[in-house]
């Protein structure tokens, strides 16, 4: 894989420092529906539509950005963890990376298909929210699991 598409190795650590707190915060927000009052602010929006309002284009709106902030930090962290080079980004690691990516693609869309077929109504909105993150999450878990597994010596190794 072209190394130009990767970040230097040090970003992996920074990524984890963003990803883990954002994941914990994300789970907390989902369960409690909490929104921090001090994070209500005016933001620029390409498009905004409320339940009873008409859609507005390229406008400044006042809204709570708690979810936005946590989501952005999560995605940036997850991208850093996924796309940083390993210490030795060699051909075998690239192989693991590609297979993990394919694995994540399969898993993600099989899950989404099942959700498409079996989840209806407002709950489907939740499915879409989770689906924004699943491909990255599955990739990170699979890739790091394969790395861990292949760093363990074969049984008869001295």
């Amino acid at each position: 894989m072209t190394s130009r598409l990767f970040l230097p190795n040090r970003y992996k650590r920074i990524g984890w420092f963003l990803l883990v707190p954002a994941a914990i915060a994300g789970i907390f927000l989902t369960i409690t529906g909490f929104e921090a009052d001090w994070l209500t602010t005016r933001v620029f929006a390409f498009f905004s539509e409320g339940v009873l309002e008409d859609g507005q284009y390229f406008t400044v709106i006042k809204t709570n950005v708690t979810n936005t902030l946590v989501g952005v930090i999560f995605i940036i962290g997850a991208l850093m963890v996924s796309l940083s080079k390993e210490k030795h980004e060699d051909e075998f690691i690239s192989d693991l990376r590609l297979s993990s990516l394919l694995w994540a693609l399969w898993f993600n869309y099989v899950l989404l298909l099942l959700a498409f077929i079996f989840v209806y109504g407002l709950s489907f909105f939740n499915v879409m929210v989770y689906n924004m993150f699943t491909i990255l999450i599955i990739f990170i878990i699979r890739f790091n699991y394969l790395l861990y597994k292949s760093s363990k010596p074969v049984p008869d190794e001295k």
Binding site: E86, K87, H88, D90, E91, F92, I93, D95, L147, S150, S151, K152, P153, V154, E157
Partner: protein, 66 residues
């Protein structure tokens, strides 16, 4: 494909880590090749052979089904 990297490594008393460093790959790569879980590229196979001072065919062998 089979290989006798492990034997060659033992002869030169190199650990997986040492060998990995000498040919600048990860230790996982050496581990996977030795376990026959990964077939190295031609470049890597040549590097390994060169380090052991042997021909590629003396270290890597085709097996049935290849």
């Amino acid at each position: 494909m089979k290989n006798k990297i492990k034997v060659e490594r033992a002869i030169m008393s190199l650990t997986q880590e040492d060998l990995a460093k000498k040919i600048s790959v990860s230790r996982q790569t050496i581990n996977a090749i030795e376990a026959n879980k990964y077939v190295p590229s031609t470049v890597l196979a040549l590097k390994i052979a060169q380090l052991f001072g042997k021909k590629v065919e003396e270290i890597f062998f085709l097996e049935e089904g290849d």
